[in-house]
């Protein structure tokens, strides 16, 4: 799976909210390489004087027919704000696909729980579709502070059951993802999670308590995305530092110290 760095063409910027958008990127010149769910892109943001480094953004969906993929971007800093100001036809320099993805189990009919929060739901959409296409049955458990934080629900519903929690009770069950009744009412073969660290840790603890394999996708600060700068490290249970960009971003949570 070779890496590429090139200017992709923005074909659409779908605003989901004032501060969230899905940016569709097309390669007009060559067929996109194989992209696995959970992999990410390092985006170079020009015209933003305070944005020096690339921004790692996980891949939200891939459309082979259109030869494009999309990124779900939350405008929090100057770099991501500049990305939300992109217009169709603009170019965006991308380094992709990076890292290792989520596991798609052998066989079929596996029940997988995909837990996401915030912009961390992004890779779960593509992962869910790939799971469904492989004959598995993903359940999406998506959490937010409020109803407006739950994004792309109609798209998730195409691929499996969608359960939601909100901290203010404005949508789905009241509470956090680990409070949701589906955790008791349904049994799962494996768990995947992406979102805020406390959420992922809670999900991993719950999975561990049931001896379920659990994969988490981490979002450490990083520079190169290629395993060269060694900035994005996470500690393994045997006390080694490994790179989120290259050894992850998806890890079996049993591998990591932070689960404890």
């Amino acid at each position: 799976m070779s890496k590429h760095v090139k200017d992709l063409v923005v074909t659409a910027v779908e605003k989901l909210r004032d501060d969230y958008a899905v940016i569709h990127l097309h390669d007009p010149a060559a067929t996109l390489p194989e992209i696995l769910p959970g992999q990410f892109v390092e985006v170079r943001v020009d015209h933003s004087p305070n944005t020096f480094l690339r921004r790692p953004i996980s891949i939200n969906e891939v459309d082979i027919n259109k030869n494009e993929f999309s990124l779900l971007v939350h405008a929090v800093g100057e770099g991501t704000k500049a990305m939300l100001a992109l217009k169709p036809g603009d170019k965006l320099n991308c380094l992709y696909p990076l890292g290792h993805g989520f596991t798609i189990p052998e066989g079929s009919g596996r029940q997988l729980l995909l837990c996401g929060g915030g912009v961390g739901t992004a890779p779960l959409l593509y992962y869910g579709r790939r799971l469904k296409e492989a004959g598995h049955e993903p359940t999406f458990l998506l959490g937010g502070r409020s109803a407006r934080d739950l994004l792309q629900l109609d798209q998730f519903e195409q691929y499996g059951r969608v359960c939601c929690t909100t901290e203010d009770g404005t949508y789905g069950e009241h509470g956090r993802v680990t409070d949701h009744s589906v955790l008791k009412s349904q049994t799962f073969d494996a768990v995947a999670t992406c979102g805020p660290m406390p959420m992922m840790q809670a999900v991993a603890r719950w999975a561990s308590s049931l001896n379920l394999p659990c994969e988490a996708s981490l979002e450490n600060l990083m520079a190169c995305g290629l395993g060269a700068c060694l900035c994005c490290v996470v500690k393994t249970i045997d006390n080694h530092n490994i790179c989120v960009c290259q050894d992850g971003p998806v890890f079996n949570t049993q591998q990591l110290q932070w689960q404890k």
Partner: protein, 303 residues
């Protein structure tokens, strides 16, 4: 086509003056998908120490205006692992492969250098006496003439191929340190390593970096680097290798005109993984456009 090959001492011939800086290019293999490594003068692989080191805790980086701070802290699997596991994979690359060597005592450095001396396809090492991110990582040596000389003296006895010494900019008088390492037999100096800096997250009321301070690199430091290359190139007779915020061929040419014989591309590799090759090509193009027949004709041209 202008001539662009340069020599560093007797033992290191570069097909062009562009090297990749240690710690910014892994072992080169990480970039092999993206660029033709054969178009580089050489690559300097990441800082290697006698024994394995885990480096500092996360977070290890912060973005700053036109620059970045890092405090990786020499994470590497040690010299023996490098010799047995990494070297076989990179020894036949179509470019010079140099190893950046760090240590915590002169003996340490010498022992690690001696191991590198056994590797036929490593024509040179770069001695890091300027890592600001570990307490025992050499910066204590790099900030005094005596300290710098002591390391070079020990290594020179153990290593007879091309010895480059990477200097710290966190000093009052970098030229005198360059002279001290030249006097002990260094074949070249490279500069600048990172400037010590800090960034505080005011929301969390603490430094962003796990160990407080880190090393600043990127275009922000380029004016300081050019000035120091200029000063050192005037002070020593051995070749000077310039680095510090080089993003484009024009930046590289600035260092050559300040007196550098070759340059290293560092942080730019993070922004554009093709930067080093683009810079090598850009130097060639610029020389041709300007009608300069040999890159040596612009080395020190701004003196």
């Amino acid at each position: 086509m202008a001539k662009v090959n340069v020599n560093i001492g007797d033992g290191l011939q570069l097909k062009n003056p562009v090297l990749t800086a240690s710690g910014t290019f892994g072992y080169g293999l990480e970039f092999a998908d993206l660029i033709d490594l054969g178009r580089l003068g050489g690559i300097i692989v990441k800082g290697t120490t006698l024994n394995p080191r885990e480096g500092n805790d996360y977070p290890r980086m912060a973005e700053t205006p036109m620059g970045m701070l890092n405090c990786v802290g020499l994470q590497n699997k040690g010299a023996a692992y490098f010799c047995s596991e990494i070297y076989p994979k990179i020894k036949d690359l179509d470019t010079n492969v140099l190893v950046n060597v760090s240590g915590s005592s002169p003996e340490d450095y010498a022992e690690c250098a001696a191991m590198m001396a056994q590797l036929d396809n490593i024509p040179a090492i770069e001695l890091n006496i300027s890592c600001p991110n570990v307490k025992d990582g050499g910066m204590a040596f790099g900030v005094t003439c005596e300290g710098a000389a002591s390391v070079v003296k020990a290594v020179r006895k153990a290593y007879n191929k091309t010895l480059i010494v990477k200097l710290s900019p966190n000093v009052t008088d970098i030229a005198s340190i360059a002279r001290a390492v030249e006097d002990e037999g260094a074949d070249a100096v490279s500069l600048i390593n990172t400037l010590m800096g800090m960034h505080i997250d005011i929301r969390r009321r603490r430094s962003v970096l796990s160990i407080g301070t880190g090393g600043l690199s990127g275009p922000a430091v380029r004016p300081v680097a050019v000035r120091m290359v200029w000063q050192v190139a005037h002070a020593v007779k051995i070749p000077v290798i310039g680095l510090g915020g080089i993003m484009t061929a024009e930046d590289a040419i600035e260092f050559l005109m300040a007196g550098a014989t070759a340059i290293e591309v560092g942080t730019a590799n993070f922004i554009d993984p093709c930067a080093s090759v683009k810079i090598a090509e850009g130097i060639n193009r610029w020389l041709d456009e300007q009608g300069v027949a040999d890159v040596h004709d612009i080395i020190g041209a701004a003196w």
